[in-house]
Subunit: 520 residues, 2 copies
């Protein structure tokens, strides 16, 4: 595998690092090709001393040796490929015509690859600290970042780790100097082995699943604080929409050029440079998919989660030096963030969110945003697949109605909040418990179709594209499978769809009921 | 199927109903032969309008027609049976030598049976009422009894339903006359279709699983208030041990003969007539297995549950007229409970438990009893199966240690309670939330080995004997299977055992951690 200059060095060979932040010819990005999160030997259960470990041959470990190489090395191979000319959309920017093979252009040529990956079992460590809340020590606002890096980790994760260290220093200082303690506990987590499919955080959420389900208010992740300096990028449960927006409005813009054109906050640049296509005056809040330590929290436990980062302008697919030997402190210090102002902005926003969520009497959860998110996703399914579904005499009515019921419940709940006696600690606890249960409502303990290791029926990532964030992945994946399936395989897929549709509908009704405060 | 007079008319043919409460010759007990609880068309999910219903041919419905008959009718067949003489332990008390068949004694004889069972889908109703708690409306103490009867239901369920109606009348009267409201909400449930494998309560616990998991404090079942007048009989989660004992001590003895010999409370007769063989000065509190509407609460959701009843002296296997046409009001009124004093005692105890659990500031849960229960069950497994387990190089150490850790945590928690500031509503809520989480800790969302529809790893009933109450059924059932399995089948059973042992150990550690108050 290699990264083509078409994707990572769009300004040509002369304008790459160190002359820009584009990918130089000898950079080779590391990564894992394992599928599935967590310790592959302990599916569903924590990798503690007493765990049962499945035999390695049963584990979801890749069987094909994989090696990433630089585009310089890739050119050595690609320029010598035989076979047909590759389609236009497969042609990259290396200085040759791309061929598909099979084989090289001359029968005697061979490629020898030495793969130095080795298979080891080893121990990884999570580092966890807590500032105990003074009113509700049994409610947790959790901040997380990972500690491992493929190489130097200048961006991933050290930009985030620097922010985490600074935040924990500031909070402990505040506590020690002023006696301040948050209303709810603040938990600071440094995760081990994130790069190997989030092993540390996954096993931790499995080990403490019940405590976290019962007590955690939110999970705030920063993997990289920075992978560019163009705009903020967030992925979040819809429940945290207002909290994220309000916080971004408070943080001064770290980009002097943007301040000059009147964009004084992180929010204004974000709204200008990455607007929501559906609501162009609002910044785009991406749905939370796969790819970092929030997965276990959001998709298994139903703890509203988010991840923030300063990102690039999308002229490249990702940050060009990500996971390569070039991802150093120098890149950050000299190219991306001279003076570390963008780092400060992300750390400040992260800290502000932690304070808001741990201090707010009533949790600032965006029920209306969640209802709108659900409505959009339901409309998409109805538009894209409605005819297909009706052809099977399956009705979307209950599903749609349940979304509407949730919307109504959210409205009534918010209205009732206005007249509640928030001086009573038990009244406050009760409404917050209801708010906490909303995201939990979407957790199906029986898992998603074909993805039993994921439980969130709305936000869990699609099995066909884990990084993207398809809402209702279990429904949409099954419909996509039906469209591609042979006639004889469709019947059982429709059965799967109808079963999961009923489960999702039931959970939407549960979320509505939870907010109503009635038991039944 | 029939009930033999050896089991149900032990005093001979002349001393049966109406001369005693023993079974008369023409009584035929009704019952279900279906396996598995709840609506057979909606496994794991609630049977609501939007539910997915599996095809009937996939449902766990019995395929063999079944007919219960009286022992009078059974004699007509058994006295004409051919084949070998049955073993001594199979000989009953009908006036003939029992033969095993095959076939009848004369080749031309035939038995024609008209079976009038028919297969219908129909609707059943639960009736639910609530008295909202004034301090913690979002905490529920739930009382339940079923509404359906096979025939007249003089005992099952009407003895219990009478108690339920009287209790709800009393509580509503109290509220209306005095303004009294309980600290926590009291929920009164009348279940539909209990006799068909607890359909009403199972579907209800599936529909409101998340709310109940989050909010229910305890479930108090009375199926029959009375099936005899000899002694109280209770089945209970170990967590309710103290509450049940303390309540039984408060209730005046309804039996004048017992009062005459100095046994003034329900508790003293119970302790005298049904002592715990392991602690002879204490009454026997039976573990809670299968057989009534508590199943979904206890074994799926981990809500501590109990069932109380006045019972017989065990001279018969069960109440002799149970589920027959003879189980009438007259039996209750003239034989079992002239003046309805035993009914009153059960209703009073049920109501007292409801008040104690809804009013106590700190929930009166018996952590130490639970730890002792776990220890006894662990010792039993080690003694009965220790050599077998060691022969596979599987260690019980982590399992045993986890039980000990739970015991230690319980002790420390109780000690810490003594110095807590119980004037703070949030401190009280926090310790109660910890107490509520103890039973939840033992719920494995992935289910038990070979019983995926059950989740409680300690109290769920054995697959080999659902009515009995084997602790750690998943472990013990698998060990029993291993002993009976052919050599070639043992390896995968040992794998199942080792996997489940690790899961159970993890959940015991979770229960201990929950009490410690620490997150990790």
């Amino acid at each position: 595998m290699y990264s083509d200059p078409a994707d990572y060095a769009p300004a040509g060979p002369d304008f790459v690092y160190p002359h820009s932040s584009y990918m130089p010819p000898s950079a080779s990005p590391f990564g894992t090709v394992k599928l599935g999160d967590g310790d592959p030997l302990t599916p569903f259960y924590p990798a503690i001393e007493s765990a049962f470990r499945i035999p390695e041959e049963e584990a979801s470990l890749p069987k094909i040796p994989a090696q990433s190489i630089s585009y310089d090395d890739a050119w050595q191979i690609l320029s010598r490929m035989g076979g047909a000319v590759a389609p236009a959309s497969w042609q990259g920017n290396l200085n040759n015509t791309y061929h598909t093979g099979p084989g090289l252009a001359h029968p005697g040529w061979k490629v020898n690859v030495d793969v130095n990956n080795n298979n080891t079992q080893t121990t990884t460590y999570n580092v966890v600290g807590v500032i105990t809340g003074h009113e509700e020590p049994d409610r947790y606002v959790i901040l997380g970042n990972h500690l491992d890096a493929w190489l130097f980790g200048g961006l991933d994760p050290n930009s985030g780790t620097a922010a985490m260290l600074e935040l924990s220093r500031v909070f402990v200082h505040l506590r020690n100097e002023t006696g301040w303690r948050p209303r709810r506990s603040l938990v600071f987590c440094g995760w081990g082995a994130e790069e190997y499919m989030a092993v540390g955080s996954t096993e931790w959420t499995q080990q403490f699943a019940k405590q976290l389900s019962d007590r955690a208010v939110a999970y705030l992740n920063v993997d990289m604080a920075l992978e560019g300096n163009y705009t903020l990028r967030t992925m979040s449960s819809p429940l945290l929409t207002d909290a994220v927006f309000e916080s971004a409005k408070k943080i001064p813009n770290p980009d002097p050029a943007e301040v000059m054109v009147g964009r004084k906050s992180v929010y204004t640049t974000w709204a200008a440079r990455r607007p929501d296509p559906l609501q162009p005056d609002t910044p785009l809040l991406q749905a939370i998919g796969s790819g970092s330590d929030y997965m276990g929290f959001q998709h298994n436990l139903g703890i509203p989660s988010m991840d923030i980062c300063y990102t690039h302008d999308n002229s490249t697919i990702g940050e060009p030096m990500y996971h390569t030997l070039y991802e150093t402190f120098a890149v950050v210090d000299e190219i991306y963030d001279k003076g570390f102002h963008f780092h400060s902005a992300v750390a400040a926003m992260w800290g502000d969110l932690a304070v808001v969520l741990s201090e707010s009497k009533v949790l600032p959860f965006s029920l209306v945003s969640y209802a709108a998110f659900i409505k959009r996703a339901q409309d998409h399914i109805a538009q894209r697949y409605g005819d297909l579904i009706r052809s099977q005499n399956i009705t979307l009515k209950y599903f749609t109605d349940a979304g509407q019921t949730f919307n109504t419940s959210a409205f009534i709940f918010n209205k009732a909040l206005e007249s509640l006696d928030l001086k009573s600690p038990l009244v406050v606890r009760r409404v917050n418990d209801q708010l906490m249960m909303v995201e939990r409502s979407f957790i199906d303990p029986r898992g998603l179709p074909k993805q039993p290791e994921l439980n969130h029926v709305i936000t869990a990532p699609s099995k066909n594209d884990a990084y993207s964030s398809t809402a209702f992945a279990g429904l949409v994946d099954t419909l996509a499978d039906i469209e591609e399936a042979a006639e004889e395989d469709r019947q059982h897929l429709w059965r799967t769809f109808a079963e999961h549709l009923a489960a999702v509908t039931h959970l939407l009704e549960t979320a509505a009921k939870v907010l109503s405060g009635d038991l039944w």
